[in-house]
Symmetry: C2
Subunit: 346 residues, 2 copies
Amino acid sequence: MAGKERGSSTSITLKEVAAVLGVSTMTVSRAINNRPNVDVKTRQDILEMAQKMGYTPNHVAKSLVSSRTYTIGVVIPEISHSFFPDVVHGIEEATKDNTYQIFLTNTSESFETERQAIDALRSKRVDGILVSSSLKDQDTSYYQMIVKSGLPLVFFDRCVYDIGASCIGVNDREASRQITEHLITLHGHGRIGFLSGSKKVSIAKDRYDGFVDAMNAHGREIHPECVIEHGFNEKSGFEAMNMLLALPVDKRPRAVVAVNDPVAIGAMDAIKKAGLNVPHDIAIVGFTNDIRAELMYSPLTTVHQPAHEIGNQAATKLIRTIENKDEPIEQMFLETSLVIRKSCGC
Amino acid sequence: MAGKERGSSTSITLKEVAAVLGVSTMTVSRAINNRPNVDVKTRQDILEMAQKMGYTPNHVAKSLVSSRTYTIGVVIPEISHSFFPDVVHGIEEATKDNTYQIFLTNTSESFETERQAIDALRSKRVDGILVSSSLKDQDTSYYQMIVKSGLPLVFFDRCVYDIGASCIGVNDREASRQITEHLITLHGHGRIGFLSGSKKVSIAKDRYDGFVDAMNAHGREIHPECVIEHGFNEKSGFEAMNMLLALPVDKRPRAVVAVNDPVAIGAMDAIKKAGLNVPHDIAIVGFTNDIRAELMYSPLTTVHQPAHEIGNQAATKLIRTIENKDEPIEQMFLETSLVIRKSCGC
DNA sequence: CTTTGAAATGTTAACCTTAACATTTCCGAG
DNA sequence: CTCGGAAATGTTAAGGTTAACATTTCAAAG
């Protein structure tokens, strides 16, 4: 009478296959894992029967025995920023033979979430983790503990330094210096502002430092009221720019360096809404080369970061670290390039 | 003499904590899992010691006992399409209490990869899977097998119907009909083309059918040479549009419906490179409301799909299905809306 | 027909946790 | 005190697999 039942999700085990054929589980295990010392005929029977019964190896049990899950955790601040999907793509490519599977966690720029996520990943016994950190203060003790625990850890993009973990990223400070310099040479006079995320996050600090380097090198003064520390997304950029626009006209910057493209895009929106023009009234440059950068009403001059490559290298490094305990700890900076478009005033 | 060793990644177990305190593992287990029948003092000692020793529960072992991994697999065709990160965001939100962790797999529109990924997820004993399928023919036997196996499965966006799985998406056919109709009313005469992905994929077929519905309803003829079946990304759109542009001028469509925004964006690129203008020479509409749509040189008229909501509902449905075996199988279509911009000729 | 040794197959224990049942401890009532 | 019973704690087995060791089978050599 009962309708067709939804299959009860109990899976076939080695033991069950073995029982049907009247052999030991060990023989079935050997046959299925392509181990030697199984008679050709026996192996064939086993494989056929396993197939027929719909046997799927239980990786949970395997993991318990081997202490390896073939799983890596990926922790990122914001999956919706075009940079990160590209990174994830690169990561996937490095694991493409499908040996490793990826746990993805989005932290929404919250370290607390990050920490919880990593704890959960540790509990699930991932073989290693890839992290772009939202850590916002100098207390690196959590990550020190992780490193000490022996869990392979590679940072990418947003790194935590000097705790004994590898890191794949770009030279944010130098790239920021370059793009700021570009802006300075175009705008011999006038103030230049900086729209930052929290400077406790490494990329914000590094990019700000690069900005300062360029300003100093060209004898330009930094006006504290033109440096806004807010967030990393469009909304933050919009709000931060509005703060600058609220300044008296003579204090208002003539050009702005944004910590990343989403912030620059938000800022451009604010400028437009204020009835001003980019780059005529205010020039702006970003960082990332977001998918939207070239499409803006004034195409955005920015720093191209090799997102895909960063992901790929980070995953490769992590897997090497997992598979070889002597893999050295390493900092790797990939090449960036200036993408000159219109928003800088060129 | 040996330098500081990288911690050997062996974790502390319940047994070890128990040994140190001279109690049984069971007591430690009870204390740590907040079970009753543990003396207040004992519990406190155990928690302190566990903390001090850096004990982390081994979820692998727990999973083996409970047959639950608190893990769900998410299978998507292309993480770089802005639609999917939004979906993933929505999924994460539904699991936000962090009870479930997400395995993300990108299939690059390949069903073979999809199948391998799902097999791997099954082996890892995920509690359920969320799939946007790239299945390209009518042979649904693989998914029938999955459903039969009892693994909770919810499709989203790109569904496989009539196999007993829930599905969360939009009414592609109707939305496509609406936007095509909009185009028809603006362009009383002239040919209208369709740029499709493989019509063996459900969304391509549904959207094409909606296109046909609108054309028929308005007595418009469909010209086979104006219907190109190619792919789902920018490159495909670019190439498909070039095929249309290669037609003799009198056979060339005056307006084009694209299967999604990436294709529309690629097509707009081709039109621009051909020295023609959108919407003046060729009008175009898309589907998805990609993050770039409003930024195009002629802002793209498109169908807004509630990506975040789709992910959220799909994950919610999946979790319900996992946690309650009587959860009904259901098809759910979320609201779309026409986003009228300039590319259609408005 | 025995011996020999490799190949095939089997058995046991372990991985870490928890459910289920068993035992001990302890406190208050009689 | 002693008993009863609840609370605290302990023991055993199971979950699916594999490593390590043990046994059986079998074919070729003597």
